[in-house]
Each structure stands twice: as structure tokens, then as C-alpha cells.
């Protein structure tokens, strides 16, 4: 496989290979490093971090579903200051390229988080998780509303300028994901991450109540892969120049290849890591073999290849 060029780039950031972790599915890296060296994958995407420490939600926080799972963690985390000081520092020290995911409850919180990340050393990109409720707008999820989504990205862009690429993470729970994508790109997003989880619910038929303490949760895993492929395909078609970090149900190299063909230039592996903690590194190897077997000499040639014209 020597000679195969597996590198990819998200705006000005280049990565040796396109396999990333998914935010919230790799904690902040340390735990995963027991299974493979983190510098072997493209980058670690950290758990979405907020301004303050967060306890997250009450348990039960998860339910297994057919080929997937629901989660409602509620962004448990140490807060940005402890994160930068301890977790990011650990990642940098261990040679992991790091994409920091930030989450806020207001436009100002996002802006403040971005400013702090900008000042930190060793950050490859910022992923802006706009699938959080906007407390200033009836708890409506930022990513489900064009205006809120735009305001967040504009504010983050103002905070970081062109120092670090900004990746806006989109929710599939919208009528028209392309219009949200266009809005956040116009607002300054350098790339898009998609898809976040779908809103779902499981009712426990013993207690006859919603199983999660939070009632609803986010659906992830192979079950949602067809939705991810569709969303990536639609957005890549509309915005072929915009880098897309694809995710949603990737369990094998073949699954990753599907998202790449649809238009993703990097792949985040999420729920699969719970099934198999070596999943990111295994998927990296499987994807490379597949691409070589299909005759690609460069990863980048495969990105969006399913869109090629018929002749």
C-alpha cells in the first residue's frame, strides 16, 4: 500500500489520514489510548465542552435500540478551563491532533469558548456543536433554526478569525439540511460535520414510562447510516467545495467508504467505538485497503466520487 496518499485536509488543516473520533464517543482521548496510539488516526475530536463544569443529566442515560442506541448524557464535562489545562495538554503531549468540540447555551457562550480555544496551543480545528438548546430562544436547538445557527457561527468566526478552521456540526432533525448548511457556510464555517444524532425515544415496557431520565435522547449507530449518507450527499452536491466531516453509523471501512463516496473528506467514528474500542484504527486500515483495491492512489480522489457524471 506504499505510495497511497491517505492525507486529507479541512480548510488549512491537513491530516495524515481521514479517520477521526466522534465527539462524545472517545471521552477526551486518554481512555481510548489504551487500545491504540492516538497519533495513528487523523485526529481526536473531543467531547463537546462548555464554559462551566457540567454534571450532565440523570441516569438512565442510554438505551440500546435496533442497530443503534439512544443517549442523553447532557454534555457532562469539566468546563473549558480545566479541559484546556488538563485534557488538551495531555492530548498535545501524546502527539494527538485535536479537534475541540464546543457547545454553548447562548451565542455569547459559544463566542467565549471559541476565544479560549483560539488562545490554546495544539488545536487543529474547532467543531461547533450547534445541536444544543438555545436557552435564549425557547430552548430551540440552534442547528434547527437558520438564524440561530448563523448567529453562532458568525460569533465564533469573529472570535477566531482565520486562525483555526471552524467546523459547524449539523443536526439531521430538520426539514432542509442543505439550507442550514448554506447558512452556516455563508456565516463563516470552513467545514461541516454531519450528522449529529436523531431525536428519539424508547419506552420501557416494564415501567411503562420513557426509559431515559431525560425522556428523549439522540439516536446513533448503524441504524442512522442511510440518513447520514443522504444528508452528506445532498450537502456535498449543493456545496462541493466545502469540506465535510462525515459520521453516523460507521462500523466498518466499507461504511466509511460509503460516506466518502457521498462527499465526506473525513470520517468520525462514534458509537462503533463502544462496540469495538479499536474501531477507529481498524476502520482506518479497512478503508485504506478498500481504496487501494478500487484503484485509488489518493484518498482525496474518492471524496464525492458517487457524484461523478454517468460517462
Amino acid at each position: 500500500m506504499s505510495g497511497f496518499d491517505f492525507s486529507t485536509s479541512i480548510a488549512q488543516t491537513s491530516l495524515p489520514n481521514p479517520i477521526l473520533t466522534a465527539s462524545g464517543c472517545a471521552a477526551n482521548g486518554k481512555e481510548l489510548s489504551a487500545f491504540f496510539p492516538l497519533d495513528q488516526i487523523g485526529a481526536v475530536v473531543t467531547k463537546s465542552v462548555m464554559s462551566q463544569p457540567r454534571s450532565g443529566r440523570a441516569t438512565p442515560r442510554m438505551a440500546e435500540t435496533p442497530s443503534g442506541m439512544l443517549n442523553a448524557i447532557g454534555l457532562q464535562g469539566p468546563g473549558i478551563d480545566a479541559f484546556l489545562k488538563e485534557d488538551l495538554a495531555w492530548l498535545v503531549e501524546h502527539g494527538a491532533r485535536t479537534i475541540v468540540s464546543i457547545a454553548g447555551e447562548s451565542v455569547d457562550e459559544f463566542a467565549a469558548l471559541a476565544r479560549k480555544v483560539r488562545g490554546a496551543h495544539g488545536v487543529s480545528a474547532i467543531e461547533v456543536n450547534i445541536s444544543c438548546p438555545n436557552v435564549e430562544n425557547r430552548g430551540l436547538v440552534f442547528a434547527c433554526d437558520r438564524n440561530s445557527a448563523r448567529e453562532v457561527i458568525e460569533a465564533v468566526k469573529r472570535s477566531v478569525g482565520n486562525t483555526i478552521p471552524i467546523i459547524a456540526k449539523l443536526s439531521p432533525d430538520v426539514t432542509d439540511i442543505v439550507s442550514i448548511a448554506e447558512e452556516v457556510v455563508a456565516a463563516g464555517a470552513d467545514g461541516l460535520a454531519m450528522i449529529n444524532t436523531l431525536l428519539g425515544m424508547v419506552i420501557n415496557t416494564e415501567t411503562m414510562r420513557p426509559h431515559l431520565a431525560n425522556k428523549t435522547g439522540g439516536l446513533s449507530g448503524p441504524a442512522i447510516r442511510p440518513v447520514a449518507v443522504r444528508a452528506i450527499y445532498q450537502v456535498h452536491r449543493a456545496l462541493p467545495q466545502v469540506p465535510i466531516v462525515g459520521m453516523g453509523g460507521v462500523l466498518t471501512g466499507n461504511d466509511a467508504f460509503e460516506l466518502v463516496l457521498a462527499g465526506a473528506c473525513a470520517i468520525s467514528v462514534g458509537t462503533a467505538t463502544f462496540h469495538d474500542p479499536s474501531a477507529p484504527i481498524r476502520i482506518k486500515q479497512e478503508l485504506e485497503s478498500l481504496l487501494v483495491a478500487r484503484g485509488f492512489s489518493r484518498f482525496s480522489d474518492a471524496v464525492g466520487y458517487a457524484h461523478r457524471s454517468d460517462q
Binding site: 467531547k47 463544569p53 438512565p60 442506541m69 448524557i73 469539566p78 489545562k85 431520565a213 463502544f274
Partner: protein, 287 residues
């Protein structure tokens, strides 16, 4: 996570052959060829097994306490677990035949803390919760401790107390709710709500039992180490689903991951009443 415990440093992921499977009452006793786990596991550690193949609709691993390990032997190191067929995942595991392989991650979690000096220890197991206590008993005995064990369950077929295991304990009490074996009633009734001549309690079983023991221990001024069983999506510290409210040494309540900061906690630190909530004052509680 800031201030987080580290994953078990000896953890490995491997395909492990099922060496044998045997029915023991309501449970299935599985022996797996797992040399790396056998070599490093400590009493209280658990392992996580994936269900079905890549085409299974069940994505999440199921966790099982390690019953015992045989570091060297004809199969080069084996690990044994006791599985209660419950839902579809555990039932699938009990249907495996010898020579089939399972994808196993372990050893996971922290271990029971062993006092340096000889102690008088009471080990309390509820249902299959007795499984990890026999290896603990053996370790304690090697330290010249005195080991009493009490096991409770709903019915006799749910009392896991193998002859080999019994050898490691000085006394064994049994309670069943229907009286089909030992005393009729709960295992905690056995000590009449008091602990005499006990320095430390180790417990593994349902949350209700752990909570009751913690209260009994508190009244007697005896430390109770509890192995909790929270629903886990990953078992390795990645997902934050397995948390429960635990007070740290500074008195701050934090939502700790039972897979990596546990499963063994000091019972008096666990906020038993508040499980399933975020108790007021929890570090980072919002609103």
C-alpha cells in the same frame, strides 16, 4: 475528563475461545481462554463481551464480573464468568458452545481494596453478585484475614456458591426469599441489622442490597466496599452513560463513571438515594 481515573492499565481486547460452558442452577458458568486477562485481573475487575457478529442488531457490549482466573493451565490462562440469562444479550452468551469465540475486553474497572494487615471481612453477594467474591476471599485469606460470606437470592437456584469457592471462606451463610435454601428472607437480615466482630464489608449485588449494607455498615462504623452495576454502553470510560453520584474526599458530589472510577466504590460515598437524579449541589449541576 479532568480528575478522571485511568482505564485499567492491563486492558486488552481479544478473541477468546469458549473452553467450557456449564449450567449452575439458574446461571451459566463460562470458561474463556484469555491469557492476558487471566494474568492481570484482580478481584472486582470485570470484562465486556460483544454480542453477535458485525451483523448483530445489538451493538453494545455486556459486562460480567470475573469469577476466577487460572493464569496458567492447559489452555494457557483462562477466565471464568457466571452469566444469568436475562435479556437477549446475556441469553445469546449463554447459548455459545465450546470452541466458539467471543470478543472480550478486559480486565476493566478498579479492584476491591485489600487491607495490608489481616482483617475480619464479611463478603456479601446478591444473586450472581457472589461470583467475584470468591477470588476476593482467596486473596484475603492469603493475607491471613478471616473471611465470612453471606449470599442471598430469590430462590435456591440463584445462589451461586460452588464447592471450590466455599473452601476459601471460613463461614458461609445463605438466605433465600422463598426459603428454598438457607434462612428465609433477605441476606441483610442475616446479621440482624448489626455487624459484630467485622472490620470490613465487601458487597456485590443489586443496588437495594448495597444501599442497605452501607447503612448497616455506617451504624456499625464499618467500611463497606460496594461493587455497583450500572447500565454501561462502552465499559471503557468513553461514553459517560454509567455514572452515579459519588462524594469525593473533599465532600463534593460528582457524577462518576462506574466502569472506570468503579465499579467498586466506598458505599458511604455513593449517594444511594440520589441515583437516577442529579442531587442538588452536584459539581456542575446546571440551573
Amino acid at each position: 475528563m479532568a480528575h478522571s481515573a485511568s482505564i485499567n492499565p492491563d486492558v486488552t481486547q481479544s478473541e477468546c475461545e469458549v473452553i467450557s460452558k456449564r449450567k449452575v442452577g439458574a446461571y451459566h458458568h463460562l470458561t474463556l481462554a484469555a491469557p492476558a486477562i487471566a494474568e492481570h485481573a484482580k478481584p472486582g475487575n470485570f470484562l465486556a463481551i460483544s454480542i453477535g457478529d458485525m451483523k448483530s442488531s445489538m451493538l453494545l457490549r455486556r459486562s460480567f464480573a470475573i469469577y476466577q482466573t487460572v493464569p496458567r493451565g492447559p489452555f494457557g490462562g483462562t477466565v471464568e464468568i457466571i452469566v444469568a440469562p436475562h435479556g437477549p444479550g446475556s441469553t445469546w452468551i449463554t447459548q455459545r458452545a465450546p470452541h466458539e469465540k467471543l470478543d472480550v475486553v478486559g480486565p476493566l474497572g478498579n479492584a476491591f481494596k485489600i487491607p495490608k494487615d489481616p482483617v475480619r471481612a464479611l463478603l456479601v453477594g446478591g444473586g450472581y453478585g457472589s461470583a467475584p467474591l470468591f477470588a476476593l476471599a482467596e486473596t484475603l485469606r492469603q493475607k491471613n484475614s478471616r473471611v465470612e460470606m453471606a449470599i442471598g437470592a430469590a430462590t435456591a437456584d440463584r445462589i451461586f456458591a460452588p464447592v471450590e469457592g466455599k473452601r476459601s471462606v471460613h463461614s458461609l451463610m445463605i438466605a433465600t426469599e422463598d426459603g428454598s435454601s438457607g434462612a428465609k428472607g433477605r441476606v441483610t437480615d442475616l446479621f440482624d441489622n448489626s455487624l459484630s466482630a467485622i472490620d470490613i464489608v465487601y458487597a456485590c449485588g443489586p443496588m437495594g442490597m448495597l444501599r442497605a449494607l452501607t447503612e448497616i455498615g455506617a451504624r456499625a462504623g464499618v467500611l463497606v466496599q460496594c461493587a455497583v452495576e450500572e447500565s454501561m454502553a462502552c465499559g471503557v470510560g468513553l461514553c459517560m452513560t454509567c455514572v452515579l453520584p459519588v462524594q469525593d474526599k473533599d465532600g463534593v458530589i460528582k457524577m462518576l463513571r462506574s466502569c472506570i472510577e468503579g465499579p467498586i466504590f466506598d458505599g458511604s460515598a455513593v449517594q444511594w438515594d440520589a441515583i437516577g437524579t442529579i442531587p442538588p449541589g452536584t459539581y456542575g449541576a446546571h440551573r
